[in-house]
Subunit: 191 residues, 2 copies
DNA sequence: ACCTGAACACCGTTCAAGT
DNA sequence: ACCTGAACACCGTTCAAGT
């Protein structure tokens, strides 16, 4: 496995700008979604556009940096769901809803995550894998308990739930995901 | 119900430009997806940007105009699926796959359709309803045959399948939708 | 009634000049 | 090593002038 390189410490002003950009991006993405103007982020962060570009060469790189917090929480949510030892239906519903809640935190994020999941070239790929692993743990656990249909593929479950998130996210109405998730859950658990 | 207004005939040059823009859009959308530059479409159609804008005030209006063909075909596909009288699983799989094939004809279209489905303000709303009706016919038919789980909502099925289409469409790899559809089908048909 | 194309505002991206 | 901000290319949108 490739090791994480030890990330040479940044110069003080660089570090300050980096953090300022990130916190500003969080605000602007919350206001306008992940397709908000990068120019506006730079302006409100008080840096030149070139500075933003130096730290985050692509929009995805910026989204990726913001995702750091979630992946940890998503991972924790999966383990918490497993720990409850609830029946399969309840466990899956809880897990799926938590997952969707996280990846729809900023408008437009869900579709970017769904796309990055199958794109190793994406800056977000690694974090998608962390989330996919979290999902796999839940599925594997229920699989071991014999409560799932044969040949349920965790990766496809992940894609399907991401699809639900994307639909809910891009809908202008505040869509309730529960009915859609119920169908997915019914399609996964054994009769 | 609101009547279709009888659409006064266009001036000859307007008609010609309208058609030329549409056929060019079809080509450009095929090449670059539904987020392609409108400027390029106007240029290649040999009209000024203002002309494109006059006929199609928004990108969605242009996509909507291109969708005309599909909605008919999608509707026909639904009735054809019903006519086969296959078992529920096969009928649903066939119908879903045909539906997805159509709405992913141009990259980016699936997500626009999924979004328009719950947005009466969208120019594409009516055509989405035609497709939703087609889906409802299939579901209702199987419902009447007693082969579905109780309380399967056609609208949610539609959203779910659109979600699958969106995921497949935005994935850079040529994703096979069958495994995801299998889960959905299992979640719909009675045990 | 419809078209043209210049004009404008906005945005992502690059890069030479600075510290 | 990092930042700045001007410059560029591109795009959607508008509108005055033309037929």
């Amino acid at each position: 496995m490739a090791r994480q390189r030890p990330a040479r410490p940044m110069r003080a002003d660089a570090r300050r700008n980096y953090d300022k950009i990130l916190s500003t991006a969080r605000i602007v993405f919350t206001e306008r979604g992940t397709d908000a103007s990068l120019d506006e982020i730079a302006r409100r962060a008080g840096v030149g556009p070139g500075t933003l570009y130096r730290h985050f060469p692509t929009r995805e790189a910026l989204v990726d940096a913001l995702m750091q917090d979630w992946t940890d929480r998503v991972s924790a949510d999966a383990d918490a769901a497993i720990a409850t030892d609830l029946p399969a239906r309840e466990m899956l519903s809880d897990w799926f809803e938590h997952f969707i809640e996280h990846i729809t935190l900023h408008r437009g994020a869900a579709s970017k995550i769904a796309a990055a999941m199958d794109d190793p070239a994406s800056p977000m790929y690694r974090k998608c894998q962390v989330m996919a692993d979290a999902n796999r743990r839940v599925i594997d656990h229920l699989e071991a308990r014999g409560e799932l249909r044969p040949s349920v593929d965790p990766v496809n479950v992940m894609r399907l739930v991401s699809g639900v998130a994307t639909v809910a996210d891009s809908s202008c109405t505040d869509l309730d995901v529960t009915p859609m998730l119920d169908v997915v859950v019914d399609g996964i658990v054994a009769d």
